[in-house]
Subunit: 265 residues, 3 copies
């Protein structure tokens, strides 16, 4: 059965998550529910938007992604249905989908307005359970998205820091720290095209430097700071066998510079 994925800030083990799953299974008993994350920091729309952008492409066509980080629940913020690629997305219109949509523009964008597909009683504080979960279940059962509500002109978008590129350097920033403490930046592999990746490339983060871009963590000895292109196609910094975040004392938002020797401006 088509997967329904969940990204929320409700907390792993929270009764809010269980209630959403119960609603989905009540309407679509054969749903394949996939927990992506429930430990997004409370109301951290940006973190969830990044996570969604990281994972969506790996799921099959027709997957329904349900993203509920919803500080504006009960106000007049819209809830959107978006078709992006061949997948379906449901989220409050607060920027959650905007990072993915910047890369892959939606082919359909609707504002949920048809209560026939919601729970009979809708609370003012939990639209994940009362609106989005039943709509996801009904989409999984084959409901035509066009019946959910009228078109929405555009998504609310958030600004994302872009690296500044010049001939001799790229100035980026750490956008994610993974469970290993690896520092994942917004500098992408294509920014390296045609430039040396050997020791002429110098990567600076905080007061630390490393030279060359490696292929695997274990190419260097334990405790070494290494730069490499991670599995998401972005430059990342790691300490072999340890946490770069902890050892370097840095985190999301820390500037990272990639500079090429002899090309200083």
């Amino acid at each position: 059965m088509t997967p329904i994925t969940l990204i929320t800030d409700f907390g792993t083990g929270s009764h809010y998550v269980a209630a959403m799953k119960g609603v989905i299974l009540s309407l679509c008993p054969q749903a394949t529910i996939v927990d992506i994350a429930h430990d997004v920091p409370p109301q951290d729309v940006r973190r969830a938007a990044l996570l969604l952008d990281d994972v969506a492409d790996w799921f099959p066509a027709e997957t329904i992604h349900l993203v509920v980080i919803d500080p504006g629940v009960g106000t007049d913020r819209a809830i959107v249905y978006a078709q992006i690629g061949q997948q379906h997305f449901l989220a409050p219109d607060n920027g959650l989908l905007s990072r993915l949509a910047a890369r892959k523009p939606p082919t359909k964008l609707l504002q949920l307005s048809e209560p026939a597909y919601w729970l009979p009683q809708v609370s003012t504080t939990f639209h994940g359970r009362d609106i989005m979960a039943p709509v996801a279940a009904r989409l999984a059962m084959g409901l035509d998205p066009d019946r959910l509500g009228p078109p929405l002109e555009r998504l609310l978008t958030l600004d994302w820091p872009l690296p500044r590129e010049s001939q001799a350097r790229v100035d980026g920033v750490v956008i994610e720290v993974d469970a290993f403490g690896n520092l994942i930046t917004n500098i992408t592999a294509d920014m390296l095209c045609g430039r040396p990746t050997d020791r002429r490339a110098c990567i600076v983060c905080n007061i630390y430097e490393t030279w060359g871009i490696y292929h695997a963590y274990a190419e260097q000895a334990g405790g070494t700071l290494v730069a490499l292109i991670g599995s998401g196609g972005r430059l990342e910094l790691a300490i072999v066998g340890d946490s770069a975040a902890r050892r370097l004392g840095v985190g999301v938002g820390t500037p990272v510079t990639l500079a090429w020797e002899g090309k200083e401006e």
Copy 2:
């Protein structure tokens, strides 16, 4: 397939949970296992009883709920099967089901005694794996609950603090803190019937006060203490965009008073 839900205090990622899932899937390969929570604080029967009461109604008929918080495992405490509404419940008889059962009396109550439905070897320390998981799997496969054992007269019950109501006020208590730090009380929406919910209603928690009962968190500015009726139908206190638990320095057990002006006794 009928869902089998799990609530335990074994810890997310624990081998105890995996063993239970393995046993269920060995006997019922098509089971839809739903993790509700495995991070209930060790042996906290009350927390699990509240959680079960919060979530059970959202699941479909025939759902099998397996709740394993079992400090008395291996002693002569009973293991019960309860039919409540149209759902099935399996748990040690230590109060886990008593909060839900107070609201919705069981229509069938049995004591598990028929080893034919258990694993061939039953340990003295893990009846979740050796007795309850195989029974849940067999119920999912269509086993008639009446074959599990003889009727049990009554569940062991726990006392739950009830709010004290008078004409001018309701004295309740925080019974839950969610992942946002919202303080959820035992004061229910029906206790507000016919009483003003505007600024004549004063809510006091610790040394903090707020007036009026709102509909949505974001109706007030960030950092404001607001009271509202949460998605579970209970009075809750929240700090907009922040954690009320942390900011107010309170938690489960803290008294919360709702008082109406000009109606002081």
Copy 3:
């Protein structure tokens, strides 16, 4: 559908885990994915090897276990397919399977080398997603394991501390601390055969002692240190209603001695 279980150190809620699930569901939409643990401490091969050994036997025949603790990803370490009992295992060849395999020798051992069964593009840092997940999905779809690659002669093995047994005592060590703080040792039930388990048996851990081996935690009063044979068939130490790890200030690696009175050497 045959279960595919996952053990990783990627972190619960990590995008790495979601990507693996997306890949599996893209190739095998009806897969039953079972999260065993994603919170293995980063690169802790031993912890994952123990966990796998604890849980594998409880899963049904044909289960596919995917274990991704892979500090050597991108180097020339092999990725192995092992058939153990009637189950399938996929893991980097770094010792992850060696504890289970010591107990149940593999009946088939292959080195993954056939890229036709991998993703078209293989990164150098995430073979869990690019190699192991698609292979697991294809095995679940019925792929003959023999097509994965050539035989591998032997698994890389790790040394595991074995208890030292003599007539009067067994010297073991804590190998696991569970969510309750119970201390699980490498002393197995069979080492007690024919020896007294009553108060003539003295168990020493750090500076603490207890006498006799009990059957259930709750046989003693709250706060008591008790020894018992746990559900995995190993001697464990627990504090009734509390955490032995915290109360005794000990953890993995702490020596535990079981000695019989009057039998001192």
